[in-house]
Symmetry: C2
């Protein structure tokens, strides 16, 4: 049996924090790990901004519900789920992902979760495990799956390289240049084609 | 993050071979591991019967598509996927499960697969791994998930006992008697309630 592991942001949906920042007009929330490489510092910064603006989880989820998956993502995922098993591997939070998962037909997603106060304010994060994407691919492999992985970021490289098959999807030029040995796809039909070939070669 | 692992047959859908036997009027296909405990012998018997009747995989899938999920299963699964991640753990075959997964909104399913000839006849089986249900629960646990498992058969007991939480669902009297220490549920609202409690206790 095969299993396809997909990154979420940049592959199926837009970058959630950036889209959220644009929707709410809070530009500070466009800050990413490129600006603040220390992830826990970045999350603390984000939570402080959310608190300043009095934004509870429910308010954030209402905004995220207005973010649409990338054009063609739903149809791509639908075609893929006819062919094989799919799990989304992401560093986002379950509570943020939910409004998007509803739009995508609830694919299984392995990510992290938020700590939320009784008043509904985000108090902290609960990181599921270290290097979650690669470890998930390893776990599926140990369960007898042939694994295929695809993503667009630096944090997808270890899972793509660990999987039996894989490719970059709409990766930025810097990654395409430094990881020139990896296969690439820019559009969903191309990605679906590579996955079909991977399945047939099994 | 939590993950709920559910058995398929008897929990979300009817016993596939029995339903298939009834739909096609081929009573020999009602034979189960209760009659033939050697699983590979049983599968060979089944494949021989299918060949005798000239039934290709496509014909079998057409019949399976007329099998409906158990009453309330779709709604239960819908409610569950709003709350947590769900993976179906089954010993069935991906190709048999697909017509049912379509009706259930394509939940992720870990099962086995068939070897199919170019003419579309079932030639053999490809078993993904030994003790797949328990090993999947262990794998999820190693990835930082709190695990909940539920099923109705002897082959579900190891995953139910290995998981952080779990219960039997509509199990037969013999299992209820021999596994009297396990929690039980008979209806979906009861099962959903146990899962909600498990999540809240996290």
């Amino acid at each position: 049996m095969e299993i396809v592991c997909l990154d979420l942001e940049g592959v199926l949906v837009p970058e959630i924090w950036i889209a959220f920042a644009e929707k709410t007009g809070i530009p500070e929330l466009k800050r990413t790990t490129r600006d603040e490489p220390d992830y826990m510092k970045l999350m603390q910064f984000r939570m402080d901004i959310l608190k300043e603006h009095g934004l509870r989880l429910a308010d954030i989820q209402d905004v995220i519900a207005t973010i649409k998956p990338l054009d063609g993502a739903s149809e791509f995922l639908g075609s893929l789920r006819e062919l094989t098993q799919v799990v989304i591997l992401s560093d986002t939070f379950q509570e943020f992902a939910l409004p998007l998962m509803r739009q995508l037909g609830y694919p299984t997603i392995f990510c992290n979760s938020l700590k939320v106060s009784e008043e509904g304010m985000i108090e902290g994060v609960s990181m599921r495990c270290q290097d979650g994407k690669m470890r998930a691919v390893e776990a599926f492999s140990s369960l007898g799956f042939r694994t295929f992985a695809s993503g667009d970021s630096y944090n997808d490289l270890s899972m793509i390289r660990r999987a039996d098959g894989g490719c970059l999807f709409r990766a930025p030029r810097t990654i395409l240049e430094s990881e020139g040995d990896l296969e690439i796809a820019e559009e969903y039909p191309e990605l679906l084609g590579k996955i079909r070939t991977f399945i047939e070669n099994g």
